[in-house]
């Protein structure tokens, strides 16, 4: 059995392992999204190996928390978290983006990969899906929670704000979204491509609770999840400050690594930096 109640230091080590998986998967696939996978992986590890209620042996367990990956392109980070948590064999990670793989380039429910709740990849949709699940859980009086992961660039999608409005309106305090605030998108800096700030004030204006945290600081992430879970009558937006490409020096804070995979040489350097070689 995998330990799903890890300490901060165990989470950090797990995240290092997951970063190694991400580099290996992307290098093997020859394409994919390095920057966002590395910026969001600590967020996912803290959820899956400590905070979220779930059972890898029983992915559709009635009492599970729901996780909706709205920024579907960072699925390598989700796939490694799921595999390491025990949802499917770790070896399967190396099939990423290949024909007949359950690990599609963006999450695909119809491929039957355990732990994937919904297909995603078209930005702006996950928050509303999460709100719908949260509403459904409320109707049934179930205590499960819903966790979403959004990107900061994704905040530019209008549909996000339709969903934010509805989640505030229905006081969905069983819903939290974590915004991976890595500050970069394909065309460059989020603030220059289309400024989303002040994001905290925007969410508050939509009747949300806002929590800020360091997105690579496990203790701070756990504190943020705790605060979100304790908030009554409002959904919570966790604005997690991250570094795009975190953990690999030449990928950090470089927009060009958004949708690029490392070649064999680059992967070797990255794996050395991560202590894999």
């Amino acid at each position: 059995m995998v330990n799903l109640n890890m300490s901060v230091s165990e989470l950090e080590e797990q995240a290092r392992q997951c970063r190694i998986d991400i580099i290996r998967m992307l290098a093997e696939a020859g394409s994919g999204h390095s920057g966002g996978s590395l910026s969001s992986v600590d967020i996912l590890v803290a959820l899956y190996f400590n905070f979220m209620k779930h059972d890898p042996e029983s992915p559709t367990w009635e009492e599970r928390d729901f996780f909706i990956l709205s920024k579907g392109h960072v699925c390598p980070a989700l796939y490694t978290a799921l595999a390491r948590a025990g949802y499917f064999p770790v070896e399967e990670l190396m099939t990423l983006r290949k024909l007949d793989s359950r690990l599609q380039g963006h999450p695909a429910k119809n491929k039957g990969l355990p732990g994937i709740e919904v297909s995603s990849g078209s930005l702006g949709q996950g928050l509303g899906i999460g709100a719908g699940v949260a509403l459904g859980l409320k109707i049934d009086g179930r205590p499960n929670r819903v966790w979403c992961l959004n990107g900061d660039g994704e905040m530019q999608e209008g549909s996000i704000w339709e969903s934010a409005m509805a989640a505030g309106h229905y006081r969905l305090d069983n819903l939290a979204t974590i915004v991976d605030m890595n500050g970069l998108q394909i065309d460059g800096e989020v603030c220059k491509v289309m400024n989303i700030e002040p994001l905290d004030e925007k969410f508050r204006a939509f009747n949300w609770n806002v929590v800020k945290c360091g997105g690579h600081d496990m203790a701070d992430l756990l504190r943020a999840y705790e605060e979100a879970s304790g908030c009554k009558d409002k959904p919570t937006a966790i604005l997690a400050k991250t570094v795009k490409g975190k953990g690999v020096s030449f990928m950090e804070n470089v927009a060009g690594w958004h949708g690029k995979a490392p070649n064999a040489d680059e992967a070797e350097i990255a794996l050395k930096e991560l202590g894999a070689l």
Partner: protein
């Protein structure tokens, strides 16, 4: 005299009936709740109705989430928005994930009238049938819309039901069969077949009666389910009659006529004529005037039949 009734009433009544049969059925409102008759469900089951406001993309997303939580959600708004504004949500979230979400596309067709082109839904059949896993139903009258709504709620998977606002002839019988994917032969004949959906089925029956006086025998098929399409019914028409007219209150490209033609050319090539809106936007006017202006009446079907008979050498 045939009774007149808006097909949207059938949708509202069907939704209430479904609500009685299945406590997991819930409905979302997009501000025009009364106009699309979801208000009947809201009155009957106030705890199972959720207002989403003027936000179709979010309505589709919330519906997706509700289905993940084990509900059978319906969202309904005017067809232009239901099938257009949130097309990507329907495609990627609902259909790709194969979620059990039902969409009521109201105010279908040119017959919405004075509101004009912005509100006259003429592209929904094409929009919806292009997406894998989607079921698309265009019922012929209010009675059939009620049955279609219930059937949509009782099948598993995404489904779009198209209906209209205006009172139209209510001619199908309570005990007529309705099964998703099975066309209904509503008039037998062997010179020419008219395959139609929605209000055009009644227009086809009127055309058939008129031509009977001249000794022309017209077969009429109500192909209420555009997808999955009843290939067998279409092949029977081709084999029995040797020529086909397809009729829809919708754009000529990408919609119902195209769907019928796709089957004809692959399985039973015979001459075909289309009765549909000829690749143009609608405009304001009385519903009846517009049906005539846009070539969607029984006399337009009569002309199409004469053309296809001529082409067939009959």
């Amino acid at each position: 005299m045939v009774d007149m009734k808006p097909t949207k009433n059938g949708f509202g009544e069907g939704l209430v009936e479904l609500g009685r049969r299945n406590p997991r059925v819930v409905a979302l409102g997009c501000d025009i709740t009364g106009s699309v008759m979801v208000s009947l469900f809201k009155d009957a089951f106030p705890d199972r109705f959720f207002s989403i406001g003027i936000a179709e993309q979010n309505a589709a997303q919330i519906a997706a989430g509700l289905s993940l939580a084990g509900f059978v959600p319906f969202f309904s708004t005017y067809g232009v928005f239901a099938s257009g504004r949130c097309w990507d949500q329907i495609r990627t979230t609902i259909c790709y994930t194969e979620l059990n979400v039902k969409i009521g596309g109201a105010h279908g067709g040119i017959s919405v009238g004075p509101d004009g082109a912005t509100h006259q839904a003429l592209e929904e059949i094409g929009n919806m049938r292009a997406i894998p896993n989607m079921t698309v139903i265009v019922p012929a009258d209010a009675t059939e819309t009620r049955k279609a709504t219930i059937a949509a709620g009782e099948m598993l998977g995404p489904c779009y039901v198209r209906f209209g606002r205006e009172a139209v002839p209510s001619w199908t019988k309570e005990d007529d069969p309705f099964e998703i994917g099975n066309a209904n032969l509503v008039r037998d004949g062997n010179d020419v077949a008219v395959i139609a959906c929605g209000v055009m089925v009644y227009e086809a029956l009127c055309a058939a009666e008129e031509l009977e006086k001249e000794g022309i025998s017209v077969r009429v098929v109500n192909l209420h389910t555009v997808k999955p399409i009843d290939t067998g019914a279409i092949v029977s028409c081709a084999e029995k009659c040797g020529c086909i007219v397809a009729a829809e209150e919708h754009q000529i490209y990408g919609g119902f006529c195209g769907a019928v033609a796709e089957q004809v050319v692959q399985h039973c090539p015979v001459p075909m004529e289309f009765v549909a809106v000829d690749d143009r936007f609608g405009e304001s006017g009385d519903p009846e005037e517009l049906m005539s202006e846009f070539g969607l009446t029984s006399s337009d079907i009569v002309s199409a039949i004469r053309n296809v008979l001529k082409r067939s050498g009959k």
